[in-house]
Amino acid sequence: MPSPPPEIWVPIKLTLELAAISTLSLIIVATPLAWWLARSKAWFKEAVAAVVSLPMVLPPTVLGFYLLIALGPDGPGGWVASLWGARTLAFTFTGLVIGSIISSMPFVVQPIRNAFAAVGDRPLEVAATLRASPPRAFFTVALPLASPGLLTGAVLGFAHTVGEFGVILMIGGNIPGRTRVMSTAIFDFVETMRWREANLLAGGMVAFAFAVILAMILIEKRFARAGA
């Protein structure tokens, strides 16, 4: 069997980079948001939760459409881009990262929120009676106890970013080497009848998805046993 053509490596590398940066950003943004959703008594918190969850239900093209407008020259993205002399964030790698963060957010927030809710009030009350200030209680008690949820959130966020297609196509433009990731590359290879490359990438994604799901099950099993 001949070795795979070199052009499939470019989208693979780009995809992994995108997923890694997005996942890291997601954890940083989603953790405080999930903490607030799990603990706040504000009346509007479920409305916020619903907004965060919208990308789960919206067609990716709808989400991509609005993102395209937001990232474009006339949206806030264009203003941000002007800070370094660019015209737009659409069709850029930064744009893809922002789009991925928003479209994967619900998959990260939900498990972390559930984990914080499962920790409950008691460990935090105990920490407070032991002189732990709220930040110290958060970092030394809540975060370690919710770590399985964070791990699940990271895995799901990473996997969802790798698998996103519609949003990426809408805001990324499928530019080789800059915004062409695996999912859009497969589409491209099929369009140009390059079945072997499409097959390789698609098969790789199947193997990856299997590994992700298996990993999640094993994580859950391990923590369920440890928590018993």
Partner: protein, 370 residues
């Protein structure tokens, strides 16, 4: 107990449908039991003391104001207290040692902490558990670690919320001696919530009686136990706890002679060091009264005293409060007798009597168990 109160607390407010309006003071030393039926608000009072619940009121401990009527409210983590919850609530991600040290002040070469790590570990028998995970401990071991963890945060006040109620009888009996040692060795005020009168009788020095969100009586344990206007004295299993000092050992018969105010009791027990403080429990139903000194009797403890007051329980029984000593100046005990006997003996307030006590139970040693 005439010491200046170290703890002054008053809380009012509603939580859901439950209304609380409770105030009490407690001395700077010893165990104060918050006692009452389930749902009477004792745990809420404890949570208010800790600042875990914020109701209107006042909370002063050892001269420091933790909460006042003008809205001052110190958050829990700034209050120097220890809190032992009903369930041990250890941090599962930390070893026993790191649980114990979680609230301990950071070492900075300052003066030695008043409650030392080694002392607590020894006091609570934790040496073998230090490097284990809380997941692998028994219920009793967990609760001991939780108590040690609270102590090592160097509290000025220890709050305990039914620390034994989640444990089975055997485990309770395993922990009670540790609590007694703790009470005797550490000069730390303890507020102890319980609905189990047996725990009160063994551990408490003072008691705050609660019912339906209110305090219906508070003071030294012996005083409240012998107050006929309170439910304690009228209960079917009413008893009085007396603190005494070992006066002699009758080794030939295996008896310990214990001096209390206004009299002395013999109780079956292994010999105890002279001068040791011990607590006895006298059940009201085990005390019968006679007008004159009885002749030879199998009853060991027959003490003169005077009737202080009487209250009918129902149509056929009464409870009499008897002050020990011929002059009636000593400690008070209860006697539960039939109304028929009360009238037949023509008893009344101020009458001289002989209290015949069928059974005297000696609690485990105060001070050293080792």
């Amino acid at each position: 107990m005439t010491e200046r109160p170290a703890i002054r607390a008053e809380f009012r407010g509603t939580l859901g449908k439950f209304a609380l309006d409770a105030g009490f003071t407690a001395p700077a030393k010893g165990v104060t039991a918050l006692f009452g039926p389930s749902g009477c608000g004792k745990t809420t009072v404890l949570r208010c003391l800790a600042g875990l619940v914020h109701l209107k009121g006042v909370c002063e401990v050892d001269g420091d104001v933790w909460q006042d009527e003008n809205g001052a409210f110190l958050p829990t983590y700034k209050r120097p207290l220890g809190y032992v919850f009903q369930e041990a609530s250890l941090f599962p991600h930390l070893s026993v040692r790191r649980n114990l040290l979680f609230g301990a002040p950071r070492k900075d070469g300052g003066p030695r902490e008043p409650i030392a790590f080694d002392e607590v570990v020894e006091l609570l028998g934790l040496t073998r558990l230090l490097d284990r995970s809380p997941r692998n401990l028994s219920g009793g071991e967990r609760q001991r670690v939780a108590i040690g963890r609270a102590l090592l945060s160097q509290p000025k006040l220890l709050l305990m919320d039914e620390p034994l109620s989640a444990l089975d009888r055997a485990t309770k009996n395993e922990i009670l001696p540790f609590l007694e040692r703790l009470r005797d060795r550490l000069a730390l005020p303890v507020v102890y919530v319980t609905h189990d009168i047996a725990e009160v009788e063994r551990l408490a020095d003072g008691i705050v009686l609660m019912d339906k969100g209110r305090v219906i009586g508070s003071g030294p344990l012996g005083e409240l136990e012998t107050d006929p206007s309170l439910p304690l004295a009228m209960a079917r299993d009413a008893a009085v706890s007396l603190d005494g000092v070992v006066q002699a050992n009758d080794q030939a018969y295996g008896l310990v002679i214990l001096k209390v105010r206004g009299g002395a009791f013999s109780a079956p027990a292994p010999p105890a060091p002279l001068g040791q403080r011990r607590r006895i429990r006298i059940v009201a139903g085990d005390v019968s009264l006679a007008r004159e000194a009885p002749g030879p009797s199998s009853i060991l403890n027959i003490l003169p005293g005077r009737i202080v007051s009487m209250k009918p329980v129902d149509s056929n029984e009464v409870v009499a409060v008897v002050a020990l000593g011929p002059d009636g100046a000593g400690a008070r005990i209860l006697s539960r007798l039939t109304r028929k006997s009360w009238e037949a003996l023509r008893l009344g307030e101020g009458a001289s009597v002989y209290a015949q006590i069928k059974a005297v139970a000696l609690a485990a040693g105060r001070g050293d168990l080792d």
